[in-house]
Symmetry: C2
Subunit: 152 residues, 2 copies
Amino acid sequence: MKLKFRQANRQDLPEIVRMLADDFLGATRERDENPLPESYVKAFEEIEADKNNELIIAEKDSEIVGSLQITLTPSISFQGGKRATVESVRVSGKYRGQGIGQELMLWAINRAREENCVAIQLTTNAERKDARRFYENLGFKGSHLGMKLYLK
Amino acid sequence: MKLKFRQANRQDLPEIVRMLADDFLGATRERDENPLPESYVKAFEEIEADKNNELIIAEKDSEIVGSLQITLTPSISFQGGKRATVESVRVSGKYRGQGIGQELMLWAINRAREENCVAIQLTTNAERKDARRFYENLGFKGSHLGMKLYLK
């Protein structure tokens, strides 16, 4: 499948939120409303202003089919090795099962290499049963425990 | 124990690298040399220039006893909820077992609250056998699998 990757713009935000909400975990977390709650717009503007954060859109024939966020983090460990962290990988419902998630991740891995990162990393909720194998097929190893403390 | 927390400066870098190297995983990753390899200095300068990354020092009686890095990440998910990520939590060898790690983490949790973050998160290598309970005692839940793909 021939996909085009680009930075997200403000007009893409409703579709990004729709993809985040169309998910068994996201369904209870997000507010896919019109107009969008202001908190989404504020977060989008912060990402756009931060050179170390990129919100990426995958398009097929000018239609949004997926998105992810990649964060570049300068770090002292690993001899000052920069990390790339991927969050919120989502594929539009009707395009699932067609390899788009894999193409998104291959794009992110390539982006991390371009930035000379020592590693690319992510955490995946243990409830996402198929995710581990999906990422292992891309070369990721489940070497870490991902821990979260929700503050709200 | 009465600790003082502050932003790291360039002069702290050798001690930070020493703490990173004085660790069963860090021993093979780091180069605790004099002069320090330039890659550490470059990473320090990138962290210092990035308002969303902070390298924190804990001091006791003007001596460095610990450090950590905290990264603030604007994010669309969780209704545009900002995340705080903690990396490279280290306590100086002779001060281990005195609760300094816990004070460092309580500082980071407070910092994340100040920034109105939806969550504070970290990954810990599965080989760090005592880490899970340490973080669980602080309220973290091991809900995620942390996956890494090393690029070098």
